[in-house]
Every structure is written in structure tokens, then in C-alpha cells.
């Protein structure tokens, strides 16, 4: 009887020869990651001292803090939060990554996506480290446990295996694959389980595309997503890895709670209509809906392939007058690469507003929408009020669709521009 990659990772970090889904273990995360946010990090730092009498974390190399929300600060209070974070990191000897980009992406760039590692965060989108065979979970406020104890309590999750098959068509991107998965399997299909993505069509999806798919796993109910790392993912992750861990892979006879095949051949670009990430629809059913704003960015999208496709759509064309297109590369590394490729100048010349990396567009802190406005977005979420007024609307779609819609001022099919 074999084991899943998840079971193998959790066996190692709980000091056991093997564990099976359903076992409750005390596991030592290889890395504990957080971004500074009111009610989370400031509270952990305070509770560590005041409730638990802990002045310093015991192994500072296991911790990493990112400043990616409220960047740049818009109020003195926001800057005070950042000052508190910088001070805590300096006192504790903990690595701080500020203004490098969205933490979930930067974590992979700087080497926390170690294949075979176990990583925890309070935010579930950290699941995208699963692209590299890292088991990365968002555990909300329970992250405090990882600040005050060496080990955290965890129930070994079951795994749902999804095999991607077929051939992706032009204009169809990783986002569409994920939203198709939610539509086909359902928004509760992986509840409390790990989504393990594999299958022959995986070779058609880039590393960036896999970061998109694994990063959105929570909308299937999954606690995280993971991919058995192939040569391409290892070639990215191993040279950057912060520590040496033997990569692991699911055994051929691993036990899954369910195995699904997802054929991509007939898949069209999708749109996720408001107000829930469960509402995947064919883009063709929603063409022509008037749109005021577009957001290309976030930890889910905003990487080089997204910027490339948007630049291709917008090359020699113009964003419709009055339409607000915000393009926010996911990290500084990506932004610099996009600059070298000339993508940023193409986007700017087409009328896009290009901003440095920040999480703030995704949750409406800036570029805030007012009532009755509508956006197309590659952000993570389309719930009411996510990008401003509860009476504004968000249509989630791929980067090409955002760019095409910016040209027409309405939901548009990008395939005619590609």
C-alpha cells in the first residue's frame, strides 16, 4: 500500500516512519510564513510575549515575514504596522521581505518552496507553493500555534487526485483550467482534503500556470494543492531552496479518496460571475456586458505569461477611453523581467496603468470601485465588496480576457486578438 506525497511530507515533519490520512500528528513546519496584517501578525507578536512569555522565536531561520499589503502605506497607522513588523523581525533575527512583491510568489522566488517541505501561513493562497511539491497550508489564526510551539497539531488530510488530460486550446489559460475544475467537481469537492494535480496535460501548463491553479485551491474546499514535482519544477526550486530536503512523490499505489479525469480539449475561456468563486461560466455566454475597470495582477495571476498575453492582445491597440486598466506584476523579479522584454512599454503605450507589485488592488484598498461599477479581474476572489462597494461587481477571468475587455469596454473574447 503506497503513500501520497502529502502523507510522506507529514510523516517526515512529525518524526514518524509513515502516517496515513486521518492520523492526528504533531508536525514541525519547515517554514512559518506570514505577511503583516492588522489582527494577525501584530496580534501574534503581542500574544507571544504577553500570553506565552516568549521574547524570541527559537529558530528564526524557520520564519519569514512579508510586507506586501498596504504597500505603499496610505495612512500613518499603516506605516506604524509596518514599523512594528520591521522591529519584530530585527529583534528576532527573522527574514523580512518588503516591497519585493506579493509574498506567496516571492516565497517561491527566494527559496521557501522547497520540494518536500511543510510550510504554514495564515493565508490559504500559500497553497501555490504546492507547484514545487511543497505542502503549504493556510491555517488562519491557528498560525499562532507555530509562533509559540515548535510543533502544530494537524490531521493528515485525504487527497483528491485530478488528472488533466487533452490539449489546451489557444486563449485558454491556467485560470480557466482551475475554474473549470471548480465547475466540474464542485466548490466542496475537496473539502478538508488536498487537491493533487497531475496527468498527461500537466506538461502543457507552465510553472506559472501551476502557481495559479494551486494558489486558488481553497475554492474547491481544499486545505491545499500539490503537484508531484517534475524536472522543470525541480530546476526552478532546487537551486533556490533555503534548505536541503529530499523531494518526495506520491507512490503509484497511493490511496486517494477520489480520482477525477479532467479533459481540457473542449475547454473555452471562462468567466466567474459574481458574487461567488463557485460561479464558473463559459465566457461566450457573457460577452458584451459593459465593464468599467480591469485588474491584471494578484498572487493568482500577474506573472510573465499573463503579462505576455496581455501585451500581445494590446500590442498596437488602445484601452477604451474611460476604461481603467490596472496592471500589477506579481513581484519585482517579474516586473523587471517584463521590462526587459518590453512588455511594460507595450502595456503603457496601450493605455494601461502599470503599478509596482502590491496586494492592495486585489482587496479594494486602492483602485476602489464604487456602487454599480463592474470589473474584469484576475484577482483571487469575486465576493461582494471585495474591490470596493458591496454594490460593485467582479467578473474573474484570465489575463487575455482582461486585456481584450479593456479594448472593448465590455466582456470580450480574447481569441480574436491572439
Amino acid at each position: 500500500m503506497g503513500y501520497t506525497i502529502t502523507e510522506k511530507i507529514l510523516a517526515r515533519v512529525s518524526g514518524k516512519e509513515f502516517v496515513k490520512a486521518g492520523d492526528e500528528v504533531m508536525a514541525k513546519p519547515d517554514y512559518v510564513i506570514a505577511y503583516d496584517f492588522p489582527g494577525y501578525t501584530d496580534v501574534y507578536f503581542k500574544q507571544m510575549k504577553e500570553d506565552f512569555g516568549i521574547e524570541r522565536v527559537a529558530e528564526p531561520d524557520r520564519y519569514a515575514i512579508f510586507i506586501d499589503h498596504m504597500v505603499p502605506a496610505a495612512t500613518p497607522k499603516e506605516e506604524e504596522l509596518h514599523i512594528g513588523t520591521r522591529t519584530w523581525c530585527a529583534e528576532n533575527g527573522v527574514a523580512l521581505y518588503e516591497r519585493k512583491g506579493i509574498g506567496h510568489q516571492v516565497a517561491a522566488e527566494v527559496g521557501y518552496a522547497v520540494p518536500g517541505a511543510f510550510v504554514v501561513h495564515f493565508d490559504g493562497h500559500i497553497s501555490q507553493l504546492g507547484t514545487f511539491g511543497t505542502l503549504a497550508m493556510g491555517i488562519r489564526r491557528n498560525l499562532l500555534e507555530a509562533f509559540v510551539r515548535e510543533r502544530i497539531s494537524i490531521k493528515v488530510p485525504q487527497t483528491v487526485r485530478v488528472n488533466l488530460r487533452g490539449t489546451l486550446q489557444k486563449g485558454v489559460m491556467a485560470r480557466d483550467v482551475f475554474h473549470h475544475l471548480v465547475r466540474t467537481l464542485g466548490p466542496a469537492s475537496c473539502r478538508f482534503q488536498v487537491l493533487e494535480v497531475g496527468g498527461p496535460a500537466l506538461s502543457q501548463i507552465s510553472t506559472e500556470g501551476l502557481q495559479t491553479i494551486t494558489g486558488l485551491a481553497m475554492f474547491t474546499g481544499a486545505v491545499t494543492a500539490i503537484v508531484n514535482p517534475d524536472e522543470e519544477r525541480l530546476a526552478y526550486a532546487l537551486p533556490r531552496a533555503k534548505k536541503k530536503i529530499e523531494p518526495v512523490w506520491s507512490d503509484p499505489d497511493a490511496e486517494y479518496s477520489a480520482v477525477h479525469d479532467l479533459d481540457l480539449t473542449d475547454l473555452e475561456p471562462l468567466v466567474v460571475i459574481p458574487p461567488t468563486p463557485a460561479n464558473s461560466r463559459n465566457l461566450s455566454e457573457y460577452l458584451g456586458i459593459e465593464i468599467n475597470a480591469g485588474y491584471l495582477g494578484s498572487c493568482a495571476s500577474g506573472r510573465l505569461e499573463d503579462l505576455r498575453v496581455a501585451a500581445k492582445v494590446l500590442q498596437g491597440r488602445q484601452v477604451k477611453a474611460g476604461f481603467q486598466l490596472n496592471v500589477v506584476p506579481t513581484s519585482q523579479e517579474i516586473m523587471a523581467a517584463a521590462g526587459r522584454e518590453g512588455l511594460l512599454s507595450t502595456l503603457v503605450e496601450a493605455g494601461a496603468f502599470v503599478s509596482s507589485p502590491s496586494c492592495d488592488y486585489c482587496f479594494g484598498r486602492i483602485a476602489t470601485m464604487s456602487a454599480n461599477q463592474r470589473a474584469v479581474s484576475t484577482g483571487t476572489l469575486n465576493v461582494r465588496g471585495r474591490m470596493g462597494s458591496p454594490d460593485s461587481e467582479i467578473y474573474l477571468c484570465n489575463a487575455a480576457t482582461v486585456a481584450a475587455s479593456a479594448i472593448e469596454g465590455a466582456i470580450a473574447d480574447p481569441r480574436k486578438y491572439l
Binding site: 500570553d51 481544499a222 476572489l381 465588496g385 458591496p390
Partner: protein, 170 residues
């Protein structure tokens, strides 16, 4: 360790699947921090008289994948302030579940709960027998057992008191 049974009336049934709990207070109120203010706006769009009807000890019932979306803490802070002592649903979304258990707020996963109860029935959640009993109708259904850590956390009254306890050998 005995976790005290929940016993109370079903103050409301949310029969919508994938229910986004932020709707309880309304997204426009999600940033309110004062719990009295939050409680005032809670449930207005579901039952404007809810405040007059609910009483301490009541519970609420939900459908499949309760808490889906991007759940925030204020809605359930408001419900607790109004006296609600727990949530029983067909099933839960994990992010919501983890968040509320860490607040020490009892959650019970009971497949079939929507057909077991009607609004205002008196029900009991028996954590030891893993049963939800409808005391009004004299019926019952099994529920999914809590994990050891979740049970400890509820028994301790939330994440911080749980973490202050000695580490249990698992």
C-alpha cells in the same frame, strides 16, 4: 475530557449551500469592530425581528459547505453576542471551520441536519455520543466526530487557552 453538550433552540436555518457568512452582517458592515454595532446589523436581511426572538443558548443550522467564500470573523462575533452558542451544518468549508473553532465557538458537522430540524426546534449536540438529537421531535442523527485538537480547543475555550495547556501526547 467531557465537552458540555450544546442544548438550545434552532434560532435560524440557513438553507443556502456554500453560504457566505459575511452576508449575516452584510459586506458593507464587515469592517465594524464594535460588537454592539455589529449585533445591531446582524440578520437584518434574513429576519428583521431576529434580535427580539433569539435568546442565549440558541444555535443556528446551516447547509452543505457552510462558510464558503472568504469568511471574516465579525459575523459570528455578532451572533455570539446575540447569544448563539454554536452552529450545526450539513458540512463546513475548512477555512471557516478552523477560524471559528479557534475562537472556541462550537461547530458540529451533521450530514442530514436540514431534514432533522425545523426552526425553533429544541436540539442537543452530544459530543461524546456524536449525536445531534431533536428534542422536540424525538429524533436524532449521527454527527462527524471532532478531531482531538478541535475538541481540546473547544474544551479550552479557544486557541490561546488551548495553547497554554500542556502539549498532549498524540
Amino acid at each position: 475530557m467531557a465537552l458540555k453538550p450544546l442544548r438550545g433552540r434552532v434560532a435560524f436555518v440557513f438553507d443556502e449551500e456554500n453560504f457566505d457568512v459575511d452576508q449575516i452582517v452584510g459586506v458593507k458592515n464587515i469592517k465594524i469592530t464594535d460588537v454592539d454595532e455589529l449585533a445591531k446589523v446582524a440578520m437584518l436581511s434574513y429576519d428583521p425581528d431576529f434580535h427580539g426572538k433569539v435568546k442565549p443558548g440558541d444555535v443556528i443550522v446551516g447547509a452543505h459547505n457552510f462558510g464558503y467564500g472568504h469568511p471574516h470573523y465579525p459575523p459570528m462575533r455578532a451572533m455570539r453576542h446575540l447569544g448563539v452558542t454554536g452552529v450545526i451544518a450539513e458540512s463546513f468549508s475548512p477555512g471557516y471551520w478552523r477560524g471559528e473553532i479557534s475562537m472556541g465557538f462550537p461547530q458540529a458537522s451533521c450530514p442530514g441536519i436540514l431534514s432533522l430540524v425545523d426552526r425553533w426546534d429544541e436540539i442537543e449536540v452530544d459530543w461524546d455520543a456524536n449525536l445531534v438529537r431533536n428534542l422536540t421531535k424525538g429524533t436524532s442523527l449521527p454527527m462527524e466526530p471532532l478531531s482531538y485538537a478541535d475538541r481540546e480547543m473547544l474544551d479550552a475555550g479557544g486557541l490561546v487557552p488551548y495553547l497554554k495547556r500542556p502539549i498532549a501526547a498524540v
